[in-house]
Symmetry: C2
Subunit: 609 residues, 2 copies
């Protein structure tokens, strides 16, 4: 893969230092913008826009590392400095003492703010200190951005706060301040259960969310290459992309390339779902080259060790596999421990039975062995292993519905209730937790999913697959999932697992991964706007301003997929002069709505309105 | 265009007769299904699935008409039989007497059930009589499907009604009845203001919805080629696709081809937004070949008549254009009459000003002429013209927000309030009405849009453009719009205007139209499920069953885009044997979740669970 393919146009990499930990260098992408050119010849500077960047060193043009060498071990000194780990015989790190496990949760509970916590606080803020200060200077008693927005509403005495009115009150000239106010403006969030979105992310806020179990930083002490990121409903909604070879296709190099491709487009975590040969070696390559947390389903490799014979699965095989993966550096693992034996008969009555691979393996094992789920029975042992390395648990939903008909049925909800029990037990061991969720759910049943998960699982982060809002669109299921995903993320789902347009049909190729990741970034962003994330709307505002001012290059560069935006534009108007022109192909040069509006604005300036 | 390109695989055209009007032949597509093959060798027949079909005669393989001749004049005898119209000097039909205008609204108010009304009742039911009867036989006191579902819930004493439990109670053998119950099962709708979704569509229900103004059948008496369809929140959510040449591209033949392509994929109405040369002749070709209602924005052609000079626009020019289009057969027109002069200064303060073409033309006209909007002042005259031909009004939202920042602002909502006033006045003239809506709206502000429209516009159908839930995804704005569109349609928006992935960037090509229409069908369908449309989930259930049983061909054929579903599948597993195989490429032959579930189901049958 040519690294030059993976650069965003008009952007550069910046690093922001910490305050508690000045040595931190939090990576972001900054999009440069052209000046605004007014019809009277005046110009106005447009500040660069800072964007969240998942690509790690691979996204830094100054980085020239090779995949064979792996990425720099960013977190190694932080981990070592805590003095609570030791090396085992083969050099993997592990806890010295499980009474004080080396997990972000345990640190948070003890009141310790780790470098990881400050890193994510800076990362989530996207450099918005200046913007937040302006509104808090105005409303110093406000404790949150929505509260400040409410005070602004009250002051204006209207349901519709307009930045221009605010600007006018501050006594600035209309045009200059208006724009500045616009760029900082964010619509208030909907009030929703569980929404505690702050106006500004502090390291202490991060610590508190982790201590309460409402968020996790998946960060295995054996994966120091990973840049800290946080999963929780009071942060940016995250997305996961799956990679992994299966018995009938792909190889190792291809999987690493898929990883780099997925994080380039914005995958916040990547799950390696390999089931074929070379599972261990594939994972090693992926981990050593991944700046994002890597998740796995250890049951898959356990089953490979039994040559696919489900009846031969056993706790010792699973335990050894879990330790093997934890020692390698896997950051979170899906474990289908909440699927109890008594739930299985309820799935035989479904439209589409059990569709989760892990769920069907466990169900078959329980049926063949006439025993309770060994993952449930060994939960405390599992948690001890995970606490030893700070591996997060993603408690699987093996009985997630595989069709609209099966949504929110007994089998699904019974498992969710057990997920809640297991969540609390894992927390007691110091393990970081999230809960996996559906699946296929029609829009009217999505609120019940979110409500029950919040209540039953004590606000642990929810991580859903889609959900797909219908069954009738194979070939378009990235969109079906984005519709459901935006709806559940808006209500507090913390991470969305992408599905690609090949879902239900085949394995995704490069373009499918790109389309899938961008589509889910979009769904997550729509939810971030709705949740009132304090930095979410700034990008919309900047892109809208660029659009209004016919700064085509900036419009492309600020978009989720600049290459596609530019390519589509150039299909109709390929000449570079068209990128400065005050019209687009939709209306033609004499018929541009935006041009007419600019005329109006100028008329207003001349006092003619 | 080769008509063979436009056939759906595994499908045939059927026609269902009326009861009040036995001569009706309501077109539907029926997808044939393979038998279920059980592992023990038994087979089970799967009934064909009836689908809504927008393609008209073009979708009937028995139809061999040519574009030069236009489509058969389906509605001509119905129109003539009512005896309330006359021909003008050039042969166009018009009302004899505006005291009793020939509009579906006027008939409905007088208690008349027209053939158009029975046609749409049959069309909306999709042949589901049998399914509805079964649940109503069980719960005869239930007045609606949600009510029957509630009674089922009460009877089961559980929050999770499972078809199998119902089946068991009825004393049928488990497997045979289970499947039948599943196929009829539909999750209850969310209770929502304005949702009166019935269990079964009767012609009287249709009449009542039209009389109340909650729905319209756009059906100009001069467009007898159109098959009746209904737009209203208590029916299937509809979608509109835009076509039309602009000054810098496309020709007439291309526009007719676009029309046929759009309705093949499922566009329920098509708007001809041509602005270039040959507007009249292009529209004539489109109308004579369109089985779906055609909408226009007459202001565009009016402006062409002024050579693009906004200041020369006048009521006489607009009036003549409106009559010209009504006489030709345009079924609904967008008129930006609710944009008052006093609202315009509020847009100069926006992030993106006025983005509606029509809105900006009117705003500029008011500014240049220092006068109130002539469309508002001439509203009664406009309504008289439209009532004469039964042209529906789509009251434009010229001040719809063009960015997230501008959503739900004063300018937008002020215009919405005037839309309500104009709605009532048009109704008094017997004119059928809908209201256009945004635009760009973040998810948390969508409910306010729907709530205010319902309240201020007296439940007239809402017809929105998207809305786009973010600004940051040029190149993916069909998806941004599907996310917002599903959210507003779920709350009762009656029709969604599609946007393509080229939105904001350029003119859509053939593949963009296909992708856009299918994406919006999907969004509308997700909303239909949520609204509890009684026939919506049947298609999901059938497709899910086909998926579970590895009937790949049926899975493709039942999907929104069978060609794409098949093509994606075949990329990974091209051999025809794979279409019978009990695995797909995601997991490989030894690792199929669905296969494992089938094993479970068989074990249950043998009493081993």
């Amino acid at each position: 893969m040519n690294t030059a393919d993976l650069q965003y146009p008009g952007s550069h990499r910046i690093y922001i230092p910490g305050k508690l930990y000045p040595e931190l260098r939090v990576a972001m992408r900054e999009v440069m913008q052209e000046d605004t050119l007014f019809p009277d010849g005046r110009t106005e500077t447009n500040a660069p826009v800072r964007l969240y960047d998942c690509s790690g060193p691979w996204g830094d043009p100054e980085f020239h590392g090779r995949e064979e060498d792996g990425l720099p071990r960013l977190r190694a000194p932080w981990i070592a400095a805590r003095g609570d780990i030791e090396s085992d015989a083969d050099g993997a790190l592990r806890a010295c003492d499980l009474a004080q496990p080396p997990t972000q949760r345990a640190y948070a509970r003890r009141g310790i703010i780790t470098p990881e916590m400050e890193y994510v606080a800076i990362r989530e803020n996207l450099g918005r200190e200046a913007a937040f200060k302006s509104i808090f200077d105005r409303f110093p008693s406000a404790k949150s951005r929505p509260e400040a927005a409410q005070q602004l509403l009250d002051e204006l005495g209207t349901g519709m706060p307009r930045p221009s009115e605010l600007a006018a009150q501050e006594g600035f000239s209309h045009h200059s301040l208006l724009r500045r106010a616009d760029l900082n403006y964010q619509h208030p969030a909907e009030p929703r259960p569980g929404n505690r979105m702050p106006a500004y992310f502090t390291p202490e806020f991060v610590r508190d969310e982790i201590a309460a179990g409402r968020a996790l930083i998946p960060a295995n002490i054996n994966h120091p290459e990973a840049e800290p990121m946080i999963i929780g409903r009071n942060f940016l909604c995250k997305i996961n992309a799956n990679i992994g070879n299966s018995a009938i296709s792909s190889g190792i190099a291809e999987e690493v390339e898929k990883l780099r491709w997925a994080i380039h487009w914005g995958a916040d975590t990547v799950m390696d779902l390999s089931t074929g040969k070379d599972i261990h070696r594939t994972r090693e390559w992926i981990l050593r080259n991944s700046p994002v947390p890597i998740g796995t389903v250890p049951l898959y490799q356990s089953l490979e060790k039994c040559s696919g014979m489900v009846e031969h699965l056993s706790w010792p095989i699973f335990r050894d596999t879990l330790i093997e993966q934890a020692r390698q550096g896997v950051d979170y693992v899906t474990i289908h421990a909440a699927l109890l034996r008594s739930f299985v008969p309820h799935t035989a009555r479904r439209a589409t039975g059990i569709v989760s691979r892990g769920g069907s393996i466990i169900a078959k094992w329980m049926m063949l062995n006439s025993r309770e789920n060994f993952l449930y029975e060994r939960w405390d042992d599992i948690c001890d292993i995970l606490a030893t390395y700070d591996v997060g648990i993603s408690i699987g939903d093996g009985l997630r519905p595989g069709s609209i008909a099966d949504a929110n049925d007994y089998a699904q909800l019974a498992e969710l209730e057990v997920q809640g029990e297991l969540t609390r037990r894992a927390w007691d061991k110091g393990v970081q937790v999230m809960n996996e969720g559906p699946g296929h759910v029609p829009l009217q049943l999505i609120p019940e999913n979110m409500r029950k998960q919040l209540e039953w699982c004590a606000e642990a982060p929810f991580y859903t697959l889609g959900p797909l809002a219908s069954d009738i669109a194979p070939g378009y299921d990235h969109i079906t999932g984005a519709i459901g995903g935006a709806a559940i993320a808006q209500r507090g789902c913390a991470m969305l697992c992408y599905v690609t347009r090949k879902e239900h049909l085949g394995l995704p190729d490069r373009e499918d991964v790109r389309e899938g990741v961008v589509t889910y970034k979009l769904a997550a962003h729509a939810a971030d706007l709705a949740k009132g994330h304090p930095a979410a709307q700034l990008r919309d505002n900047a892109l809208a301003k660029a659009r209004f001012e016919f700064r085509w290059e900036d419009q492309f560069n600020l978009s989720l997929d600049p290459h596609r935006a530019r390519a589509y534009h150039d299909l109709t108007l390929p000449h570079s002069s068209a990128k400065k022109a005050h019209f687009c192909s939709m209306c033609g040069p004499n018929f541009c709505a935006m041009k007419l509006t600019q005329d109006l604005r100028e008329a207003e300036q001349r006092g003619e309105l």
